[in-house]
Amino acid sequence: MIPKSGNRFSDKIMRKENSDEAPPRGALAARYVDFRDSIKRDHLLWVVLALGPIFALFCIIRVYPILETIRLSFYRYHPTQRNRPFVGLDNYWRLLEDDSFRTALTNTLQFCVMAVIITLTLAFLVAVLLRSIEKAAPVYELLLYIPVVTPWVPASVIWKWIFDPIHGILNYGLSFLGIPKLAWLQDEHVIIYAIVLVSVWKMLGYFVVVYGVGLRNIPDELLEAAELDGATAWQRLIYIVIPMMKPIILFTVIIATIIFFNVFAPVYVLTASAQGAPAYDFKVVIGEIYQNAFVFYRMGYAGAQSVALLIFVLMLVMIQFALFRDRRGRADV
């Protein structure tokens, strides 16, 4: 006899649990029981069988290329040359004196800092504002999310037209404010802002949605109690919302850092087709790796650059973890 609680959902669960104990009838049921028992008995085997193919695939398409890249970084490897000697750490020493790589690293770092700060600050502000118009928020989130699902290449091509110094709509719009024409993609000092602008536009919606989820999980009672105690909106933001959002903020900072540090497609598209519409050759780390690997065919050196990038991003993430640690000394995630 199953006692009824009055709650239809919990009653259903209880009936299901109870039915697990009762011996099922028929051949099919018997097979099911055997199967269930074998899972309980050989749990590890079933886990391996279930995850094995996924893990194998992961090893083939993720782990193996990483290990192979590390191996290549110790060789002078040109795909069309038969002689591929082991060069030890030469490729890494070369990194230290490579002006192009240094420029690319500096550019990428500057771009990444700007893009992360602007994107996340804007996303947080928009998410907070959207929380005050709860009913209309999904519509705005959807609108902001459209650029996220737009592939980088067509998005960058559209922005290339917008940035055109003579025929572009951006300069045309700015001219009404009395701002002189800017060579967005041609001026070596301006191009970084153009790329930041495109990147912020592209990724803002994603982080608005993430922050939106985080904000919705803050209990209303907390905010109402603070309001009753006389806390201003600013105080509620600083002392309740931001501390409660710390794990989400850490997540977004890490994800944004990884995304923006790997910037390539917008830079490539915005500065490509240099013959007709010239653009400044803005170097980024992934662009340098691409050029060394697939234009100069210095696969070994490109491998060393990739390993250096991996280490650099890992260090950045570790620094971010350290900065966001709570007072008890553990990562607040």
């Binding site: 069309t80 040359q81 060579a183 013959q275 010239p278 050759d281 065919y297």
Partner: protein
């Protein structure tokens, strides 16, 4: 009489046998192209080829140039590349040195070695150990393109003939608006895209220095860097660029549309490029009245050429058929199609391009170089892309430096840096020549 009849019968039998042999050949020939504008010519060749080899399928794929180069670099050494390798001169050494090229049949090699058919400058690029390893097919030859209306409006009778006149004409042809912003370049210079930029900078350098910045070295595949030797010429060319990008002589700006697009849209009065520009401007700027002349000279007079080479993959299972396809591509109708359709210049002297020239006389400047004009070609080497890219970065960064205006010593320092950059890369790749 009987003897002659017997010989004729034997010849007939042999040709029938050969035809039968071709009919029995089965399989597939694959061709990859990085210059899709020549696809039409390959399709014409395909039709003729299928008549000879009805059982051989021909697959022709076109790719964006960089993608094409990357696919070749990965697939050919692995033994899975196309049967016919349409190689540009600067990627040719990769495949020769990689041992990926099949030996050339004697009849085609004889054509390559005949100076009446192929200019020796092209033969030398693809000859190793005394043997040619491919059939040079077409070249991109540069010239100076000028807008007839712009010149007329500026009171200029004709295009510039000397290096110095180029810059004087550029200043006269430049147009500015009331704010002083350039609305038309007197000459569209190559300001971005470092590898191509090095090449275009070299168009000027050659006329002043009398040789290229990177000349073939003592051994095939090696390179001699000449910038330090001609440092005055190199600095002069750099200064002329800088002074026409900044200050009162300013004749070009990064914000303007450039190259063939700029010229076809009327945003540039002059620029230097290869013959493919002729069909491009006719298509994209039908209202533009333009002419083309050989590049203006200084102490030397030389025209840059790049070269398309047809070779056969050593791993091809149908090498004989692939060479036959290359033979077919030498047909008059097909080389005419290359010239007319793509604007690239077929280089065989034993073909008559009159039919195309009657329709488009401007090609004559490219197909029939005037006496005294030297044809030169870059020194192919495995480090070509890296060297020209890095040198181009040095030069194009200097274009942006207004402090170099009137600063000859500064310009010399920049060009010495370009020299050292090239030497370092060549040494690193083991193909530097003193």
């Amino acid at each position: 009489m009987l003897r002659r009849l017997l010989i004729a019968a034997a010849c007939l039998l042999l040709s029938v046998q050969l035809g039968a042999a071709q009919n029995t050949v089965k399989g597939k020939i694959s061709i990859w192209l990085g210059y899709p504008e020549t696809l039409e010519a390959f399709k014409l060749g395909q039709v003729e080829f299928r008549k000879k080899y009805p059982n051989v399928e021909v697959e022709i794929l076109t790719f964006e140039l960089r993608e094409f180069e990357a696919k070749l670099a990965v697939s050919v050494p692995a033994g899975s590349g196309p049967d016919i390798l349409a190689l540009h001169d600067f990627i040719f050494p990769r495949y020769y040195e990689g041992g990926n090229l099949a030996e050339m049949p004697a009849d085609l090699a004889k054509d390559v070695n005949d100076p009446k058919i192929i200019d020796p400058v092209f033969r030398d690029v693809l000859t190793r150990d005394g043997k040619p390893w491919g059939m040079p097919w077409w070249s991109g030859r540069n010239g100076l393109f000028y807008n007839i209306d712009h010149l007329k409006a500026a009171g200029l009778d004709g295009p510039p003939k000397t290096y110095a006149e180029v810059w004087q004409y550029a200043e006269k042809l430049t147009q500015k608006n009331e704010k002083g912003e350039l609305t038309r370049a007197g000459i569209s210079l190559r300001l971005t895209g470092p590898s191509g930029g090095t090449q275009k900078f070299g168009y000027f350098y050659y006329q002043l220095a009398g040789e290229q910045m990177f000349e073939p070295g003592k051994k095939p595949g090696t390179v001699r860097v000449t910038i330090a030797q001609h440092i005055d010429a190199a600095a002069r060319v750099l200064l002329d660029h800088v002074e026409h990008l900044h200050g009162p002589k300013k004749s070009d700006d990064w914000a303007l549309k450039h190259d063939a697009q700029g010229f076809a849209s009327g945003a540039a009065a002059m620029f230097m490029r290869e013959s493919w520009v002729i069909p491009f401007v006719k298509k994209n700027g039908p209202d533009i009245k333009f002419g083309v002349v050989p590049v203006p000279h200084d102490k030397a007079w030389g025209a840059f050429n790049n070269l398309e080479i047809l070779s056969v993959n050593k791993d091809s299972k149908l090498q004989a058929a692939a060479w036959d396809f290359i033979r077919i591509l030498q047909d008059q109708a097909i080389v005419n199609n290359v010239l007319e359709g793509s604007g690239w210049v077929p280089i065989r002297h034993d073909r008559d391009y009159g039919a195309v020239l009657a329709k488009e006389p401007r090609f004559a400047e490219m197909t029939t170089p005037p006496a005294g004009l030297t044809l030169y070609i870059e020194a192919p080497n495995v480090a070509y892309e890296e060297m020209t890219t890095r040198v181009g970065e040095v030069i194009q960064n200097a274009f942006r430096d207004a402090s170099l205006v009137g600063n000859l010593d500064g310009a010399k320092k920049v060009m010495m840096k370009a020299h050292e950059t090239a030497v370092k890369i060549l040494k690193d790749n083991g193909n530097y020549s003193e």
